[in-house]
Symmetry: C2
């Protein structure tokens, strides 16, 4: 909830209650939402599923939230690898990230190291709380 509220990584609605936020993160049916625990504390969560319904459902997408105090420990990379492996196993033809915040350099670097490519960057479409209007990358990897 705090990471959502900080507004640095996703364009979710502002100031949501837990109940309002739930459907923005908890995947249904074809997808899944997973967490990583350090003891009893959740330190990362990822959700994955079809990027679009119908004629886009052969492409996967995923989103990630890492606890700020546990960044830089390789949890993001492990989850990225898990998600790509999951998408391949589920038979998706490719995986697309629709909105990687341009100012979030570690994320763009990590996804590129996992062979997602920046297909385009749309300028100024994300209102970053510290950096103002920044671009969003569209990233893609073919899995066939």
């Amino acid at each position: 909830m705090d990471i959502m509220a900080a507004g640095r990584t996703y364009a979710f609605p502002d100031n949501q209650t837990l109940d309002e936020a739930r459907p923005w993160w908890m995947e249904q049916s074809a997808g899944q939402t997973v967490v990583a625990l350090d003891g009893q504390e959740i330190i990362e969560s990822a959700k994955m599923g079809p990027n679009r319904p119908g004629r886009g459902q052969h492409i996967a997408t995923a989103s990630f939230l890492v606890h700020p105090q546990h960044q830089g420990r390789g949890v993001g990379r492990a989850f990225g690898e898990y998600v790509i492996h999951w998408a391949r196993r589920e038979g998706y033809r490719g995986i697309q990230f629709n909105a990687v915040v341009g100012a979030n350099h570690p994320a763009a670097y990590l996804w590129q190291s996992l062979r997602l490519e920046i297909m385009g960057t749309v300028p100024e479409v994300f209102d970053h709380p510290d950096e103002g209007f920044v671009g969003l990358h569209v990233m893609y990897q073919c899995l066939r």
Copy 2:
């Protein structure tokens, strides 16, 4: 409903009833859905609104459905101009189309003529009923 079902232009869920399809097309609150009539027949509809919630709500998006028997009469262009005018008037900083089907050449041409630019094309992410896996363009125009 027929255009949605034909699956050539949008990745909506397949085989929806009218009630299921309604929230995929009818905009709420900040957006609007408009139609063009020829007599009593609806020949085009467009919906427009914020592209993303929260930190993406300063960017507009829109979608268009034109009756197949009324294509090529300039209705699409008139609606495109209306939507861009609407977005500017409502104070949006830009307008983004997230998924223009690459095989839909008239649409890509029309939006470019209205000064949206192709920021990137993600290959094979749309399962076209006639042409198989084709790309989707991400298009954008700054309105400031």
